[in-house]
Structures are given as C-alpha cells and as structure tokens.
Amino acid sequence: MASKLSPGKMLLIAVTLFFVVGYIVYPLAQLAIVSAAEKGVVSQLLSRTVLQACFNSVILSAITVSGSAVIGLWFAYTFHFRRIRFKEFFSAVILLPVAIPPMVGVMAFLFLLGDNGLLAKTLGLQHFSFKGWTAVTIIHLYSFYPLFFLFVGNAFKSMDSSTVEAAYAMGAGKVRTFFTVILPQLRIPLIGAALLTFMASMASFSAPFIFAGSDRFLTTEIYYSKINGDMSFSAMLSMMLTAISVICLFVMRWYRDKVPAPGKTKGAIRIASATKVNAVEYIFICAFCSIVVLPVISLVIISILPDGALMQSGLTFDFTLANYRKIFSENEFFQPFLNTVSASVVAVAFTILLSLCVAHILRGRQSAAKSALETIVSLPYGIPGTVIAICLILAFNSPSVFSFYQVLIGTFWILPIAYTVRNLPILTQSVKSGLHAIDPSVEEAAASLGASRFRTWYSVTLPLIYTSLAEGSLLVFINSFGEFVATVLLYIYATKTMSIEVYSQMRMYNNGMAATYGVLLFIIVITIVYISRRILSRSHPQM
C-alpha cells in the first residue's frame, strides 16, 4: 500500500497520541516527579512499616499463587482426564468466582463468616473469628484459583494426548506420567497464570482493606496515606508497587516470547480410556462446589432479610424484597446504579475507540515507534488500580492541557477515564489478535473490487474482528462494572458506584442494602456473560 499517511491514519495517530501521552505517560511522570520530591526517599523506603508492608504483600502473593496453582491444577487435570457426572455443571460452578467483582466477593465472605455473619449467627458460635491472614488468604485463593483452572484447562484441550498414551505404553505410572510428561507441557499456562495471579494479588486491595486488621499491605498503605493527606508518601509507595508489578509484566512477556509454543496436534481426547472419579473424589468435588456457592448464597440471604433481623433473632425465613424495591424506587439508592451503568458504558465506548486506533496503528511492519507504543499501552495492565488512581489524582487535580484545562478529579469523567486506562491493554490485545487473524489478501480483494479504504474497513475488516472486539469489550464492561480499587480513591458522593455502595452501606451497618447492591452487581454480570456467550457462539464461522 502507499506509504504516505492518509488523513484518516493521521487522525488515528493524533487521537492515540493524545490519550497515551495525556492519560498514561503524563500521569506516570507526575507520580515519578512527586515521589522523587519526597524528602529522604531511601530512608523512608527502608523504614520498618514500609518493609513490613512490602514483605506482607509479597508473602501473601506467594501463598496465593502456590495455593491457587494446586487447586486449579487438580481440578483442571481431573476434569480433563476423568469422567465425572454433571461435569459441565461443576465446571461452571468452579468458574463462578470469576464473575464476582472483588469487593462483592469480600463482602460475601464477611456476611458468611464474619463476626456477625450467617455461620456465626445460625450455629450460635461465640468466639468464631474470620479475620487477618487466614481470611485474606482464603479470599485470595477463592478469587484466583479459577485463573489456573482456565489456563491449564485450555492448555489440556490443545495438548497432544498421544504423549500421555505414549508414556503409559512405555510403562510409566500415573504419577510419573503427570510429573514427567504432563507438567512440563503446562509450563506456559502455569507461568502465565502464576504471574497474573502474583500481579493481581500484589495489587489486591479489597480483601486486605476489609480483613487485614492491623496487618499492613502495600495497597492499603497507599490508600491510608492518601486519605491522611500524605500524597507524596502515597506516591512513593505507588512507585514501589508499580516497579514490582511492571517487572512481573516484563518477565511474563519475555517468557512468552522465549519459550516456543508447543506443537499442536489434533489429538482426540480418548474419553473411553478415562476412568471415572471415585466416590471420595466425587464427594470432594461436590463439597468444594458447595463451598464456592456458599458466599453467594449468603449474600442473597442477607439481601432479602429484613433490617436487623439477623442480629436480633438469627436466621429466619421471613424474606422481603424491600431492599430491591428501594434501589429502583428511591432516587438516593438508584443513583449509584445509574452511575455504575453510565461510567461502564462510557468506559467501554472510550476503550473500543482507543483500542481500535492503537491496534490499527500497530498493524503491519514492525518499527521501533510501534513497539514503544505497544509497551506504553500495555503498561497499565501491570499497574495496580490503586496506583492508577493515585497517578490520575496527581495529574488531574489541577487544570492541564490534556483535560482541556478542566479539573477532572471530583467529576464523573474521571471514573470512566480510570476504567479506560486500566482496560485499554486488554481490549487492544484482543483487537490486535483479531486483526492478526485476517488474511491481508481479503482486504486487498475488497480494494481491487473498488471499495474505498473506509468501506473496506467497515464492510470487511470490522465484521472479521467483530468477535474478538465483542469478547474484549464484554470483559472491559465486566471489569468496569464491578471496579472498586481505583473508584474508592476517585469517587465523590454524587458519583459513587454500586461497588462503593456495597462498602459504604456496610460501614453504616446497612448490611441488607450492601448485600443487595452486591447481588445486583453479580446478577447483571452473570446475565451479560450468559447472553453474550449465546450471541457470540452463533456468530459467523471463521475461515
């Protein structure tokens, strides 16, 4: 194609540069400047509190990764190689935690296992206490094992099952085969899930925020110092957390590029040779799935109990939909619902627009400028939500060119902007792989038939990336819809979202209301996932 820049392409580049420089580079630069301005950086970083918080975060993440890996791997292995009754149903339940927004999950555990939770009240436990390290670790395991289950499960699907059969044929036992043949083939998904979990766990805020008590973690330290007005100390801690996460991100990308993908053979999975799970295993699977569902059930129960009923008389069956009615009839309670929906919709629109721009610029021959752009755009993927919020506060609490001389902090717009920054890497990656899968000659064919560049784009390119665009956008919507970590630093009373309300209603001892928002978030996410899966699975077959 002609190497000259068309006006359309120039517009793409202008939009992209404006956003990337204004909303990623500039806020990060502000963070660096502010944290460097803090006096005695080194001595502060080496102070006992900071080191302790850092140590706690790393240890928590390490435990989370290893625990989640064991759980996820066991289920993925069992579900792939064994026959299980109602397998489809169980694997849906096992994936359930993915659909629960972080704050909602934490709240659900509080309602189930907290001091005044369902379990304590129904069983009349006096000294039962679910807090501190145990609580945070359990919630982390609950949130992150599905990642391993998904990654490893997908790897099993593309694995050449004849390698396993070959090992058996040569006389290797089950255990030996698992460790010498299966596990080495799972290196890529395992490392991928491990690094993702490590990053997410380092960045996790909700669980330590609610349950950690006096134990300190990096994310909560950042939040408390911001709330106490010590912005530069908060910025400095953010830099530290970012450094750890970004290193992880680069290790992951380096590893992904270094290790060659295993050759895929179409090996039909021999279900016939698979053995059925035994009774003990089956009972374990049933029990585990019940435990997975329990927090959600307790959330639902709390949401339909009359106010204060649990405190006074324990669990009764005197249910009411009063809380739900309140949200949809009283303005004060409906506003958060409206805020959540509009912030997510705006964020999805922004992210779609920008990811299309970025992915189209990145297309075609590699260049230094392109890989620089790709690196910058993928940075927020490795930056914890807390840090992104701090960066945006530093950048937009005063007028700047990039905000058209407006103060964005304290407005509605900062929420969708934060969600866009956080989700841009995900959707860009998704669109990029969609574009990558298009045979360039298909677009050339359109041009040869007389289609203008724009017509080729919307009648050929767009329909062909539609599925990856839609799937990515769905993820962006879900992430934005339940976002808490960045929102809690950026919202004001008028712009509070449902996940903020989950937290603040609980703080005001309106557990019923908090649970109701939680259930709404969960139901909407599940419904959207279900409907869009149905629609996407019916879309055009790819050639």
């Binding site: 194609m1 298909v442 050339e444 040869s448 038939l449 007389g450 289609a451 017509r455 062909l464 055009h540």
Partner: protein
C-alpha cells in the same frame, strides 16, 4: 499501442532488487503469463500492476491511462488471489455482489448479473451457501466469478490453481481457458507451472531473478528458448556444452552449447553406446528414460508404443535431428 504497458519497473525490498527494470506489454484481449520460480519477483510485479505495492520507479499504463499513482480501488481491475481471499462472513451471493454494490448497480440488475456469472462458473445452486463450506475448487470459482462480474478492464491471477490437487487443477485449467475464450478480457497470470502457462497463454514472460529473460508466444518460448535457464525451466531441455554435444550426439559438430528437448532425443543400440540407462519410468502415453552419458544426466521421452524397448543398465547411443538441436546462449542456471 498495447493495452497494458509496463515500463521500466524497479522495486527493492530491504536492499534486495526484487524487480530490475521490467518492461512488458500485452494487447487487448491477450492472456499474458508471468512465469518463473518462486522468489523471481512475478507476484510483486502483479501486485504493482494491481496497486497493492508501489514501484520505486517505472510506469503502469492500461488502456492509455497512467495508473502508476492510483490506489487499487480506482484501477478497474479484478484479482483472483492464490488463497481466493473470499469474504468469510458473507455467502456466495454476497461475495459476488460486493463489487457490484460499490458500482451502485441497481438491485434488479445485480441479481441478473450474479445469476449469469454463477451459471458461467456452474455454481448457481450454491448461491446462498456460506463460502467456508465450499470445496477448494468451488471457492476458486467463486473468486473468479467475484472478479469478473464487475467487468474489469484487466484480470490479474496470482497462482489461482496452485492450491488445488492435481486432477482438479487440470480441470480448472480447462475451465479457465473456456471462460477466457468466452469473455476475452485482457489478463495477467502469475504461475510457476510451465505447463499451465503454455496451455493458457497467448504470451509468456519468463522471469528470473527480477528480470524478464524472454517474452513471446508459448511456441516461441518452448521451441526457441533464449538461454539455458528458459530451456531447462520451460521445456526441461537436455543441455550440452559444445564438447559434450560433439562426443555424445551422433553426426553433429556444434559451434557452441546446444539444447535438445527430451522428446527429440533419440536412443538406439547401434553405434558408440556411450550412455547408460539409469532409470525407466513408464508414465502411460510416454516412456521416460533417464540416462547417464559420461557423467551428464539426460532425459529422453519416447511414445510408449508396445512397452519399454530398453531396461536399466542397457548401453545406448544418442542422436537428434539437426533441426531439433538448438543453439543457446551460455548463461548459468538460476
């Protein structure tokens, strides 16, 4: 003046001269093949004619119009791609309608023209089918229909038959020839298969290492190869140095290197018997003898008649009719 004029096209990719001062023409209605090994630049030249690549220098003129600077959508061309490049999200009908809709042809006429072209490529019954469910041969015919339905000034073919298996390829070749006779559109056809080029073309341009080494009618190229490369690539000629020819060919003393087509190289068992048969391949109509003549490997084709007259290890004598021995320029292969 020729209908397609390609003047002095040069193109470099990453410092490598892919096309080196290419000039070739085709008259209206002519079928021009660009024939060469992979990497010779033939596909790049086709893409430059289509406007999908820009040349570093040179001109493309079609029907008196200088197209060199125009984007592909303004060139009024039809392309059949090697992998067909059908729109996977559309059915057969919509694929073919794509170009017509851009030309803003009235709906009734669109249907009529698509029906007509589907008849031509014998796919009328598959009009509503998704293209991903078609066989390779059917996809190839849809690609062809999509390209010809807009009645382009020039058709460009990028090895359109190379993804088909052998018997289907021969069938598709005949089909293409029939359509070509029918429509008579000026075409440029890229291929590495010399039998395809010989069968289809009015004119062949043989390319090697970014240059056109010979252009002419199929018979011209076949019977009068310009150099050793063309002789070997197009006709699988046996080539001899002056000395080899003098010792191996009976009753002949050449003035330079010569070439003989396998079907014109005769073998007998009377005379010096200085060649050994190392392999006998019975291919039906013809018998192929591979010979070793004092270290030179040669091929002779004879009508099979009542079966092979010679067997492996037989010693034979070579000869050729003087009018079938062609003097060639002595250029290196490749």
């Amino acid at each position: 003046m020729a209908y397609i004029e390609i003047h002095n096209i040069c193109k470099k990719f990453a410092g490598r001269q892919v096309l080196d001062n290419i000039s070739v023409t085709a008259d209206k209605g002519e079928f021009l093949s660009l024939l060469g090994l992979s990497g010779c630049g033939k596909t790049t030249l086709l893409r430059i004619i289509a406007g999908l690549e820009t040349a570093d220098s040179g001109k493309i003129i079609i029907d008196g119009r200088d197209l060199t600077q125009l984007p592909p959508q303004q060139r009024n061309i039809g392309i059949v791609f090697q992998n067909y490049a059908l729109f996977p999200h559309m059915n057969v009908y919509d694929n073919i309608a794509f170009g017509l809709k851009i030309l803003k042809i009235p709906a009734a006429q669109v249907t009529a023209r698509i029906d007509a072209v589907l008849q031509k490529v014998r796919l009328a019954h598959k009009s509503k089918q998704s293209v991903s469910l078609l066989s390779g041969g059917e996809q190839q015919r849809v690609a062809l229909a999509r390209a010809i339905v807009t009645e382009p000034g020039v058709m460009l073919f990028d090895e359109p038959l190379s993804n088909l298996d052998h018997s289907l390829r021969l069938q598709a070749r005949n089909e293409l020839k029939r359509l070509q006779n029918d429509i008579g559109v000026t075409s440029v056809y890229v291929t590495h298969d010399q039998s395809e080029a010989l069968a289809l073309s009015d004119k062949i341009a043989v390319m090697n290492a970014g240059k056109i080494v010979q252009a002419g009618t199929p018979a011209d190229i076949y019977y009068h190869p310009a150099d050793a490369f063309v002789a070997d690539f197009v006709g699988h000629y046996n080539t001899f140095t002056k000395e080899q020819a003098a010792t191996l060919l009976q009753h002949y003393s050449p003035s330079g290197p010569v070439a003989v087509l396998p079907e014109n190289l005769h073998i007998s068992n009377t005379g010096s018997n200085n060649a050994v048969i190392i392999n006998v391949l019975f291919t039906g109509a013809m018998i192929e003898y591979i010979l070793n003549a004092q270290g030179l490997v040669l091929k002779a084709l004879t009508p099979s008649g009542s079966g092979p007259a010679y067997k492996r290890e037989d010693k034979v004598t070579l000869s050729a009719d003087t009018r079938h021995i062609i003097t060639i320029k002595d250029t290196a292969h490749g």
